[in-house]
Symmetry: C2
Subunit: 343 residues, 2 copies
C-alpha cells in the first residue's frame, strides 16, 4: 500500500478539539498560558491521532534544527568510533541528532563538509581536523555567525572555540621518559606529517624528555608518515636499515606501532630486548599483539560525551563560550613491549 496517507498536523488536532492551532502548538510544549486539562486533552488527542511533529516547519520558524554536525578525518578507526558513540549517546539523550561527515584527512573535503553542514543549518559543529588543516578560514561560515564550534582531539586554536584535548606534550614526555628509564637511548619517533598541534606537541614532549635525560635529538630518527599500518611497516624497514640499530620506538598511534612491531619481530628483532616499542591510543590491538604494547590510554568515549555536552550546554544558553580548553586525563599504560626491568 502507499496512498497519500495524510499527515496529521496541529490543524487537524485543533479542529478535532475545536481549538486554535496556536493553542495546540502551545499545548504540545509546556507553555505556561495553557490550562492543565486543555493541555492534557491536546496531548491525548495528539497521541490518539498519531500526530508527529513536522520538524521543518518548526525549524523554519525557529531557525534551529536540534542537529549537531560532526566532522572527523576518518570514521573507520576504533578510537573515532568510540568517540562518536559517546557523542551520539549524549546528543540523543538531549534531543539532538548527529550528522556525521568525513574529511578523509583532506582540508579541501573538510571545507566542503563545513559548507554542507552549514546549509543543513546545524546548530553547532564538533570537529577533529584533518592532517593538513593549518588554518581556520574554512570555518568562517560558522565563526562569523558565532555558531558554536568545538574542536576535539585534533584541534585548532581560536578564542571563540572550546577545544577538548589531552596533554599530548606531557603524555609523549612520559612515554619517552619511560623508554629511557627502560634503557633506550636511541629512540625513533614515528609521527604524522601534520600541520596540527597534536603531533607537534607529542614531538615536543619526546624532544624535551630526551633533553632532560641528556640524550641528543637526532632529526633522522623522526619518521613522518601517515601513521597507517603501511606506514608502520615502512618505518620498520627504515629502522632496520639504520646503523647503529635504534633501541626504542615511540609511535604516535597504536595501529602504526603494532604493524611496526610485527615487522621488526618478523625480521628477527627481539621486542623489547633489542628494541622497545610504544604506541599511543590504547587501541584494542595493543592488548592483543605480542608482546602487549605499551601505550597511552585516554578516554575516547568521554571525550565524545564531553564535546557533545559542552556544545549542547552552550546551545541551550546554559553556558557561555568562556572555557577555552578542556584537558582530559590520560595515563601511560605500561605493557611488555617496553618492559625490560621488572620492578
Amino acid at each position: 500500500m502507499s496512498g497519500p496517507h495524510k499527515e496529521i498536523t496541529i490543524y487537524d488536532i485543533a479542529e478535532a478539539l475545536s481549538l486554535s492551532p496556536a493553542t495546540v502548538s502551545r499545548g504540545l510544549k509546556d507553555h505556561p498560558a495553557i490550562r492543565k486539562d486543555t493541555r492534557k486533552r491536546i496531548l491525548d488527542k495528539a497521541r490518539e491521532m498519531g500526530y508527529q511533529q513536522n520538524m521543518f516547519a518548526s525549524n523554519l520558524r525557529r531557525a534551529r534544527t536540534n542537529t549537531i554536525g560532526v566532522i572527523v578525518p576518518r570514521l573507520n578507526s576504533y578510537f573515532m568510533s568510540v568517540v562518536i558513540a559517546g557523542m551520539e549517546k549524549v546528543a540523543n539523550a538531549a534531543g539532538y541528532n548527529l550528522i556525521i561527515s568525513q574529511s578523509a584527512e583532506s582540508m579541501k573535503k573538510e571545507e566542503t563538509n563545513v559548507r554542507t553542514l552549514y546549509n543543513s543549518r546545524v546548530d553547532g559543529l564538533l570537529v577533529s581536523v584533518a592532517y593538513d588543516s593549518d588554518s581556520l578560514s574554512h570555518f568562517n561560515l560558522f565563526l562569523d555567525k558565532s555558531i558554536p564550534l568545538i574542536f576535539f582531539d585534533r584541534v585548532l586554536d581560536h578564542p571563540q572555540c572550546t577545544s577538548i584535548v589531552i596533554d599530548n606534550y606531557k603524555a609523549a614526555y612520559e612515554v619517552t621518559t619511560h623508554l629511557i628509564r627502560q634503557g633506550s637511548t636511541r629512540i625513533v619517533h614515528v609521527t604524522a606529517q601534520s600541520k596540527g598541534a597534536v603531533y607537534a606537541d607529542r614531538l615536543r614532549g619526546y624532544r624535551q624528555a630526551l633533553r632532560d635525560n641528556d640524550l641528543a635529538f637526532d632529526e633522522s630518527l623522526v619518521l613522518a608518515g601517515n601513521l597507517s599500518e603501511q606506514a608502520g611497516a615502512e618505518a620498520a624497514r627504515a629502522i632496520l636499515a639504520m646503523s647503529p640499530l635504534p633501541d626504542g620506538v615511540f609511535s604516535a598511534n597504536d595501529s602504526c606501532a603494532v604493524s611496526c612491531l610485527r615487522a621488526l619481530k618478523q625480521a628477527g628483532i627481539s621486542i623489547p630486548g633489542q628494541i622497545a616499542v610504544a604506541g599511543f591510543n590504547n587501541d584494542p590491538v595493543s592488548k592483543v599483539v605480542e608482546p602487549n604494547l605499551t601505550t597511552v590510554n585516554y578516554p575516547g568515549e568521554e571525550m565524545g560525551e564531553l564535546a557533545a555536552s559542552t556544545l549542547i550546554r552552550r546551545l541551550d544558553r546554559l553556558e557561555g563560550a568562556s572555557l577555552n580548553t578542556i584537558v582530559l586525563r590520560h595515563e601511560l599504560v605500561v605493557r611488555d613491549s617496553t618492559l625490560r626491568k621488572k620492578p
Copy 2:
C-alpha cells in the same frame, strides 16, 4: 559579535535583479524554462551575495530532506565504523546527509530511534538490528508509508525491504568444514543469544557441516552469550571445564574469538595443537593475535556503500523495490590458529 546577520534569501536575490522569487528559485536549479543568461545572472548574484539555501523551507515544501537515517546496534566496533564510512562516502557524494543512532542492542531503544528519525523526516532508513529484535512492528511507521527501509548485515525479512547480507550459512559451513578437515571433531560454537537470522544461519551452517561429516551435534557445545570480549573469556572458562576437552572453537565474531583464544593460551592450551580457533569478521585484531586467527572476511565498506547506493537509487526513483536480497561475497581466511596440516 553576534548581530542578526540577515540571511540572504531568494527574495533578496530577486530584488537585486528585479526578478521574481519564483524565477530565482528555478534559476538556482536547472529548470528548463529559464534563459541561460538569466540563470547565469542569478547564480552569479547568489554567489556574490553569499546565498545559502535554506533547507527547511525547501524540505517543508517538498516534503523531502535528503537525509538518510542509520540505526546500528553499536558504533564502537571496527566493522561497523567501516560500514558507516562506506555509507557516508556514497551518501555525501549524492548530496545526502547521514543521521546516525545506536540501539545499544536493545529493541526498545531501536524503537525510540525509529520514532526520532521518523520525526526528522529522513527519506529512508538503513538498519542493522539489535540482538533482541525479533519483529518488524516498530518499523511500521516507515513501512506503512512506504518509506524505503533497507537492512544490512543483521537483517529482518520483509517483502518491502531489501536486505544486504552475506551468506552466513555458507560461511559458517565453510569455517566448520575447515576445522573438521584440520582434524577437529568436538567443535564449540560461540554465538549470540539473538533472535535474528544471522546467528541462526551461522548455527545452521555449523550443524550442517557436522552432519555432512558424520559428527554428532552436541547442544552443550553451543555457548550463547553476547559475543563481547568478556563473553570470550567466559567461553574459554567453560571450555576448560569440559571433559573431554573440545578440539575446536568457532566463534561468531573475532573480538570474542580473540579473547577466548588468549584465555585458552594463558591456561596452557596450545593453539591450534590442542584447540583450533576460528572467528568471523576479519577484524584487525585477527591479524595481530598469535597465532593469527582464521576468520571470515567480508567487505564492510562495500556493504555500507551498497546499502546507501541502493537506498538512494530508490529515493531518486531510478529503481523500484524489486530486489529483495543482495548477497555479498565472503571468503574464508585461513590463518595459523587452525592450521595443523600444512598443505
